[in-house]
């Protein structure tokens, strides 16, 4: 249970970084922390106390009851890859923003009024 709570704490740290920090790169880092908190939480939902990694080796018997649930792990792997794509795009955009504005400070990047 405390592990789930830790994921929540991590999530809150990420939200703090995203909301409070003014630097674009720090905001991106906050976003990464949020994503990882969600990923961690979902991995934990598939966990089983005393479970083994769901990998079949030669000469091993398949006993589904001994394995942790592999499906959340596959989901999270996909989600990490999606996250990689988004982060790469965000970093590329913020480098371009730096070229145009000469700063990473969001309070100075205000062409649009929202």
């Amino acid at each position: 249970m405390s592990l789930y709570f830790m994921a929540l704490v991590l999530f809150c740290i990420g939200v703090y970084g995203l909301v409070v920090k003014k630097n674009l790169i720090k905001k991106i880092i906050g976003l990464v922390i949020i994503e990882n908190a969600v990923n961690l939480f979902l991995i934990l939902t598939g966990f089983r106390t005393g479970g083994e990694a769901p990998i079949l080796e030669r000469g091993m018997e398949a006993v589904p009851e001994h394995f942790v649930d592999p499906l959340p792990q596959a989901m999270i792997l996909t989600s990490i890859v999606i996250g990689l794509g988004v982060i790469a795009l965000l970093v590329a955009i913020s480098v371009r923003i730096y070229e145009k504005y000469g700063t990473f400070d969001v309070t100075k990047i205000t062409e649009l009024k929202g």
Partner: protein, 153 residues
């Protein structure tokens, strides 16, 4: 002419280690159906080996081996190969059908199309990540690739 990259010892050692890293990535990808890892993990290691070369030899020298445009092409080719493997299944019955003989469990030559899919992903992810790195590294001089990562796994 100005010397690119780092000092001589670094270059010497990089010559050896890059090959090791590359083949480790290839190993991970080829054994994807037997052990943890697979095309994506292997591809990331492949990209890392290329980034290694950039760091040691400078990007001008690396671009002679694999330029950003070539990496972008390679990435699309990998994705296309993956799609073609999936399409091969259509003619055998269903999209993504594993239409090759599946062979003995736990042997290297088994699991039908999965090995080939892994290799396609290996090329795509490796080239794609390297292209992203190049875009970030030479953003000043470029008219280079917009990245379109993230649609594969």
């Amino acid at each position: 002419m100005k010397e690119h990259g780092m000092s001589l010892p670094v270059k010497r050692i990089t010559r050896i280690t890059v090959a090791l890293i590359f083949f480790y990535g290839l190993y991970i990808a080829i054994h994807g159906h037997l052990s943890p890892g697979g095309g994506f993990a292997g591809g990331v290691i492949f990209a890392l080996s290329m980034i290694h070369i950039v760091l040691a030899f400078g990007r001008e020298n690396t671009m002679k081996v694999l330029s950003g445009a070539a990496a972008s092409m390679l990435e699309s080719a990998g994705a296309l190969a993956f799609l073609l493997i999936a399409l091969g299944g259509v003619f055998a019955g269903a999209f993504f059908l594993n239409f090759l003989p599946e062979g003995e469990p736990f042997s290297l030559f088994s699991a039908g199309t999965i090995v080939f899919s892994n290799m396609a992903i290996f090329v795509k992810v490796g080239a794609g990540l390297f292209a992203v790195f190049l875009v970030m590294a030479l953003l000043r001089t470029d008219d280079s690739v917009q990245n379109n990562e993230g649609e594969d796994r």
